[in-house]
Subunit: 736 residues, 2 copies
Amino acid sequence: MITKKHLIIALSCLIMACPALAQELKSPDGLLRMNFRITDNGVPGYQLFYKGKEVIKPSKMGLELKGNTTKVEFGDEAAIKTEQKDIKNSLYDGFSLKNTATSSFDEIWQPVWGERKNIRNQYNELSVNLIQKGTQREMVIRFRLFNDGLGFRYEFPQQKNLIYFVIKEERTQFAMTGDHTAFWIPGDYDTQEYDFTTSKLSEIRSLMKKAITPNASQTPFSPTGVQTSLMMKTKEGLYINIHEAALINYACMHLNLNDKDFVFESWLTPDANGDKGNMQAPAQTPWRTIMVSDDARNILASALTLNLNEPCKIEDTSWIKPMKYVGVWWEMITGKSEWSYTYDLPSVDLNKTDYTKVKPHGRHGATTENVKRYIDFAAANGFGGVLVEGWNTGWEDWFGNSKDYVFDFVTPYPDFDLLGIQNYAKSKGVEMIMHHETSGSIRNYERHIDTAYKFMKRHGYNAVKSGYVGDMIPRGEYHYSQWINNHYQYAIEKAAEYKIMVNAHEAVRPTGMSRTYPNLIGNESARGTEYQAFGGSKPNHVTILPFTRLIGGPMDYTPGIFEMDISKINPNNKSWVNSTLANQLALYVTIYSPLQMAADLIENYERFPDAFQFIKDVALDWDDSKYLEAEPGQYITVARKAKGSNNWFVGSVAGEKGHTSNIVFDFLDAGKKYVATIYADTKDADYKKNPQAYEIRKVVVNNKSKLVQKSVPAGGFAISVIEVTNKSQLKGLKTL
Amino acid sequence: MITKKHLIIALSCLIMACPALAQELKSPDGLLRMNFRITDNGVPGYQLFYKGKEVIKPSKMGLELKGNTTKVEFGDEAAIKTEQKDIKNSLYDGFSLKNTATSSFDEIWQPVWGERKNIRNQYNELSVNLIQKGTQREMVIRFRLFNDGLGFRYEFPQQKNLIYFVIKEERTQFAMTGDHTAFWIPGDYDTQEYDFTTSKLSEIRSLMKKAITPNASQTPFSPTGVQTSLMMKTKEGLYINIHEAALINYACMHLNLNDKDFVFESWLTPDANGDKGNMQAPAQTPWRTIMVSDDARNILASALTLNLNEPCKIEDTSWIKPMKYVGVWWEMITGKSEWSYTYDLPSVDLNKTDYTKVKPHGRHGATTENVKRYIDFAAANGFGGVLVEGWNTGWEDWFGNSKDYVFDFVTPYPDFDLLGIQNYAKSKGVEMIMHHETSGSIRNYERHIDTAYKFMKRHGYNAVKSGYVGDMIPRGEYHYSQWINNHYQYAIEKAAEYKIMVNAHEAVRPTGMSRTYPNLIGNESARGTEYQAFGGSKPNHVTILPFTRLIGGPMDYTPGIFEMDISKINPNNKSWVNSTLANQLALYVTIYSPLQMAADLIENYERFPDAFQFIKDVALDWDDSKYLEAEPGQYITVARKAKGSNNWFVGSVAGEKGHTSNIVFDFLDAGKKYVATIYADTKDADYKKNPQAYEIRKVVVNNKSKLVQKSVPAGGFAISVIEVTNKSQLKGLKTL
């Protein structure tokens, strides 16, 4: 993937025990500046400036360890002994500087799929090698300063006095300079599916209770605990984003706020023992990232998170392909049909239950007939895939029962003709997408994963949507602990062996790992469209997601809902989709993902074929992306150039206030003409009362064209910009 | 396996809400009698009598449930909700009788391997169907009364109001009639490897602290908590044994003593959440067993535990074969050599560590050369197998580090020539026995288990010794919880698919499951011979094990130590084996196992070829077993008839006081003559000062012969009794 490494200069300087001295580092463009210091007590710390102004106040760094229990080996007379060793539990003080090194890096690399063809990875690096008095333990802190932000991590080199250790807590501070506005969701060990709250930092505590809405599995931990990626804006108009990159073999980080002085501190997800990490040196933490800009668009355009991940580890990536899909899903989410097959069974024992002996309830969604209807629709409209949930046995009691052997991942219900569907899909040129709901029972999933992946390949499935709904088994574990995170990683790496793409739902939020394992084609890990059928999400939700959840990687948001009144699908469900139809179209551009679903029912698309045309047309993979307008919680407008073509697609979404966009098409090639088809809210569109009020107009544009386009609250617009290759295409069209 | 079912009579009677009435049941021989009652509060209970005298006082039965958290499904407007349901947590009161049924059963079945060819399973059964007021929940208690004891279990039939539930604690009482003498080890969630303490029940509390000796992983839980199988003796000379049978998908039971009134209550092993079981009806608990006799020999001879397990589930059992083996093991246990290969590595990363680049420490036991020496020895002496520990990479840091990816089970050290050894063993007609130490990291084991089992079959290994040393991963789990027990069962059932025999060490204590899965060829699950190299075990240890640990199934005790002074093997190890050499020979008969190791070093066997002859000769599988003398903690003498032959083998072990045996050979066929070779302690034998003082004499015996044979403290004797087929065999021998 790497094309050019411009230069790597390593400057190493030996500075013994010189705590007063501060190490400084500047970003390549000089606008960001950081320093590293050690206090008189040997506490490491850093500070960050943007254009000369302080962004992060002096912040402490380090980790607290758990008291080690060292057990002595067999074989001597004393036999099996347990010894309590009095190891110093601090990796946060007593340090002095052993040496430092600085270097620069600049390369252009190409992702397998992504928002742009070429990604520049340019930074200046400072690594400080610390040594702890008394213990002689060494720790390296490595800083990488990019033009758009800072990344740093802790490294534990191979050494004698620090080999195996248990983390009680990571103590990394992010000291804010004031009472910023934050776009936050409650910190939680088990769910990320909260609506965002926009508030001052000082208001988090009082708003927390309201922010913690019910979920299938949830474990909030602090009245000022929030999740990353955390988006903030200062009074002075500076945008700050805190997240992590390359979360591997480590617990997911939350942030806990000291709301007296606005200092965040890292708060890791514990295991069943309450421990936060079992480490073996040599090892390192994930990168802690702080993006900074005075232009919100730079946060969205940043590739910092990807750049802090390792290059692709999959040699042959030819089988990894972005895909648009439809599926038997929204009808279950809305309650029109069900995942389950029967009401006859008080409980299911997969070893014994004979589904051919029970009475079907007649509301099963994944029937052969229904699936074929979706295959036909996919084939007719150019969709690559069809996802079917509820195809396999076990859905009668899968949830909330802490059931260990909950699914076997290979046995269809009697009314799902696996082979027939396989052949039918093949004949239509459509790929079936597998669904592996684990119900959080991960030992069960791992026991079946090889068989399940083999089954997929045998039956023509190349992608799987996996799910982790509900409390984890092993019981006592949380969704985002080190040990459970290792499971998600195991599933991805094993899938790569089988050339299977993974779209994991309810798994830990992504941190740019798709650079290294691009078969991780999608994640949910946030409040997706399904919540629009569970009571609705806030109207500005989609103007915040790209600033938060999407910082770590693409989201399978499942947009494209054309019918906002869910009671029209299921009279018992009074939920309402807080969005206009034009907003739903825009999401295919604003929420980047190489996997995009057209989530609504076929019949709803058939009612609006002209609007549906945009979903059919929009590309999935991009040579370039230009963030034209952005303000978190308010609006986002992005233009993307389709891979290997001169066509562009523009999307714009607005929050609760609506937004009037002023777009210049200067991203287009000079001298070329394009036909722009604009799908927009009408003036009287209203996400509550008149959401399907859209208008479609065609105009000719060139790189001088300007567009003023109004979006109503929770509205938006989408534009396809197709290069003119034949003059007849211009017929009857005005130029903008 | 089943040959004859004599009769099954089911008598069903409907008795509605009749709490005052007691249901009675008698054993087939009428000597045991029990009754079942429900108190006015609806508390179920039972009572047991032997020869008219009370053995178990009225004892309560039932379970306490955890408050259920019922979570509502997706799909309605209200969306994902968490609802606390106020389910009554008692399954121990409020019951009335719905109906009862009694039946009788009698059959003879043949085990795949065992102490006898035919096992009689004869009992009278009472099942009481209870219904709980208010909840309408039903629970069945099923009693089976054998001539040698009682078994009962709780059953939860399919029903509407009790489907999924979590057990807070099982509340089964075993109310003793007095301050009995008990042979006990501390209750512990993580180890069974304690020395037995013999004391009054009233003394347990004060002796507990001393009884809890250090172990690689240990979690004692109560000052009066003890393990099953628990052996007791009353003042009146009655022997009582409490254990469980068919421990499947349930937590292992301990007993907690109320030492004011001598009532034991069940105490299950919790999971990481502190819960004690996740149940799904229909379901049942394991059987709780109470063996009773006024003759200790009947406890040892009882097949009650096996009889309460399900018949064999493996169709083709031809590949399951008892085996005598030697191995590269005792030299590591004593500290003469090591499992590991190098001292160079601070820690091992199996993905990165290159063992070909490190300096071997020269003390590695599992070298090709050393293994071939054991293969030669096995072939020369008729041993079927050779076990080699420490053959695979990872032993440098395997223990005490909570290391997840600790072994891969397929990669040999550079000095272990896997293929060369495979071919060499095959050429010598010897089978290699695999070793899978998991270090308690069970997810890692399950991730590799298919690959590991396939590797075994590819390389000619048909049996595996598995190990679970140290604290469990997932962290917070214990060795004997329901969820971890399910792992052991998974490993056994999967092994059966591959036609692999399992000898599991540190796994949960057996409960007769080898009837159902006879590929579970052995277990450790108690303090084995290795402790004789870790400071020693009590001299009477082997006179208690058959009354306790062996009630559940065979033990891989690894006897046959000829050199008691461990410092002669490893000068740094001052441990002493508390046993005479003759006692060690006797163990091959007194500690029943289809898998028997000759555990000592080859050079020690070569010093005593005449004694070693008994180990070579002794059979492994039996047509019959006669317990001739038995008193727990004092002595055990047993005679066993070798499978498919007229030869017998006799073993006798004595405790701290020594013992003089009076044996009548009336188990021999009338009219036949046999040559008996007696391996016995000399008069001046002394397990501390003169343990290798044995004498061997040959005599002719018939079914009238009597033998008076003295065993010194921690001594014993072994006799091979070979049918005379040629008169020349009698030459020069006296008749006893």
